[in-house]
Structure formats: structure tokens, C-alpha cells
């Protein structure tokens, strides 16, 4: 049976971000293209979230392992900047999973980053926006740290980029 793009995307749902294991690479928005040639060669294009993210190489290998596991041996996985990632590419399902994981999802924005959108991020625990940013840098490159004045807890946000 001929493979179609949707089959590959379904398989890739299994591949999770190793630093945020509730989030699939498809929902993260780093799979930028899947092509299948007439002779069933599968090409998967990926792009990094942050250029210095040490998990990207691991994710690429995980995509290759997943394809192999499902009997696909004729493939190429490319990491490119052709369609650069930004945080608006996170899917709605991905945002919901982040919140359940305790990470505030990034706001959808016009891609013009200023301090205002980093302040008063909605707390993922109590939904209050009475919060302050403590630092734009966190335990991984993609997270910032915040404090909720309502439920008195530190929380992290997946940074808008």
C-alpha cells in the first residue's frame, strides 16, 4: 500500500520532545514538511526551536528510529532553517498539553517581541494573570521563569519566539 503524508505525520506523533515529554514534535511545530516520492522515499524536514537546543540532534535521531520501527528504511531526515520555527507554530493541542504539564504556553503574538508580552503571563496552575517575570532565561533555552502572586508559586513559561 502506498504511503501518504498523513501516515507519516501520525507516526511522528509518537516522537516527543525529550525535555517536555507530553509534547509531540508535530504539535511542537518543528516538522516543517513531509514528502513521499513515487518510489516511496520519505523525506522529513525539521527545524530547530532554538539554534542552540541540545535536544535537536536527539529529536532527529528519534524521528529516524521511529521511521525504522515502522518498517520505513528508505528515508532522509533534514534539519534546515528554510521555514524557521516560531512559537506561533505550536498547535492548540500542544498548548493544552503544555499547560497540563505545568508550563505556561506562549501567547500567540505578532512576532514583535517586547517586555509587555513577557510580563503578566497567565499562571498554568490557577489561571491568574497577577504574575511577574523573574527572568527571561530558565532551565532550558525555551523557558522563562515567573512568579504567581495569587497562588504564590514559581512557574515556567515556554517562551514566545
Amino acid at each position: 500500500m502506498k504511503l501518504i503524508k498523513e501516515d507519516i505525520l501520525t507516526l511522528l506523533e509518537e516522537v516527543k520532545d525529550p525535555e517536555i515529554p507530553v509534547l509531540s514534535l508535530v504539535d511542537l511545530g518543528v516538522i516543517t514538511g513531509v514528502e513521499i516520492s513515487d518510489d516511496d522515499h520519505v523525506t522529513v524536514n525539521m527545524t530547530p526551536t532554538f539554534a542552540g537546543c541540545p535536544a535537536m540532534d536527539y529529536m532527529k535521531k528519534d524521528v529516524e528510529r521511529t521511521l525504522e520501527k515502522h518498517g520505513i528504511s528508505n528515508y532522509t531526515v533534514n534539519m534546515t532553517f528554510d521555514k524557521p520555527w516560531d512559537s506561533n507554530k505550536l498547535s492548540e493541542k500542544g498548548r493544552q498539553h503544555l499547560k497540563e504539564f505545568g508550563l505556561a504556553p506562549p501567547p500567540k503574538y505578532d512576532l514583535i517581541l517586547d517586555l509587555d508580552i513577557l510580563e503578566h503571563v497567565k499562571c498554568p496552575y490557577c489561571d491568574s494573570d497577577n504574575t511577574d517575570m523573574r527572568t527571561p532565561f530558565g532551565p532550558t533555552l525555551c523557558r522563562s521563569m515567573h512568579y504567581c502572586n495569587n497562588c504564590k508559586q514559581m512557574f515556567e513559561q515556554f517562551k514566545p519566539l
Binding site: G52, P136, L161
Partner: protein, 251 residues
Amino acid sequence: MNEQAIKDLLYKLADDQLILGHRNSEWTGFGPILEEDIAFSSMAQDKIGHSLAFYTLLQELGEAEPDTVAFTRNANQFHNSQLVELPNGEYDFSLIRHFLYDNAEIIRFEMLSQSSYEPIAKVATKLKGEVKYHVLHANTWIKNLGSSIEEAILRLQTSLNEAMPYALAMFEKSKYEQELIDTSVYAGEEAVKAEWLKRITAVIEKTDLKLPDLAIIEPKFGGRYGEHTEHLQPLLDEMAEVFKIDPTAEW
């Protein structure tokens, strides 16, 4: 398109980021407060990632692979500005350098995102979003500390005066300058410097700091042509120490 001109541009971009990335990493475990320790460590990781993106473009143009280029050259083969190789000093100096450097880097990336050389334009488009966080961090601290207590203002002012001759030399022109401008690969150092002055002045005016008189400063040129301070070679030796134990190891 002159490939040598493009390579020269890529080397200076990549080397600046690798060396400053290494200096930033030296704050890991030594930051004045935990948040700053994490901030400098995160920026280190970003900058080394950014240098990798540019070394990868160099590899596509026939240069050696990124690890080889990063770890096996000597100081006189590096194209970074001397500003980034200076020791961290105290926190005030690192902060001032970070402020002066990152405000220039974001302008380079903004301009390069319009480059006629598409591979550079794509990488710059991606990286300018990440560097915004670095600029935001630097500007916030300069504004806060630069208008706080006397000791903070004095320390920052002293570091600003010391760093400025090196900062001005970030804009040392390449021997391919006019060619890069004529072919719309790069807007050129003069254009970056003019915009940089505007932006750093706007921040400094919100503080009790004073921009030194730039007309009487002699920039510390040479870095783009392989002339460095005595601080670069020891940095490179330390950075490559583990790599050189076994260059063929798989990591």
C-alpha cells in the same frame, strides 16, 4: 558572488559568537545571583549554537567541519573582535560588554536577514528572534543598575570607558567590505555602527551613565585580521582541552 568575501563574513560572525559564548559559560556557577548565573549560561548555549549555524554554512562552502574549525585553529586564525576575548572581569564589565556586543549583533542579524546570499538570510532570520532575549536582558540591567546606587553607576561607567575602544573595533571593515555592500550581501560595518550608536545612546540616556567622547577614542582594531590580545590563546587552549585528548572520539 565572491566566495572568499562570504567566508570572511561568516568567520567573523561565527568566531565572535563562539568566543563570547565561551566567556559567558565561565559565569556558570559564579553568577552574582542565581538568575544571572542561569542567564549567562543560557546565553552561552545560544551563542555557541549560533556559531554552529554559521560554521555549518562555512562547511557547505568547503571549509572543515565545525568541530575542527572551532577547536583546532590558533589565535591568529580567529576573526573575532578583541572585545569578546577579554576576560570576564567583574560582573559590571561582563554586563557592559554584553550590552555593547548584543546591541550590535541584533542589528547585524536584522540587516543580514535581508541578505542577497540566501543561506545567511535564513540563518539570520532565525537567530535575530533569539538574540532579542539577550538584548532585552542587557538593556533591562543597564537601565536598572545604571540609575541605582553610586557604586553601581561608578562601576558601570568605568567598565563602559574601558570597553568602548574594543567595542568600536567590532566595526573594523573587512577587505571585502565594498564588494559585500555592492552585491547586497551585507549592509556593511558603517551602517551597523550608525544604528548601534542610536540604540545604545537611547538606553544610556535613561541612566546616570555617560557615553564617552567617541571622537577621541582610538579603536582597538586587528581582531578581524587575526591580531589578538594575550587573552585569546589561553581561552582556546582551555576550550579545546577535552577535544584534543582524542580528536576522533564520537560524542
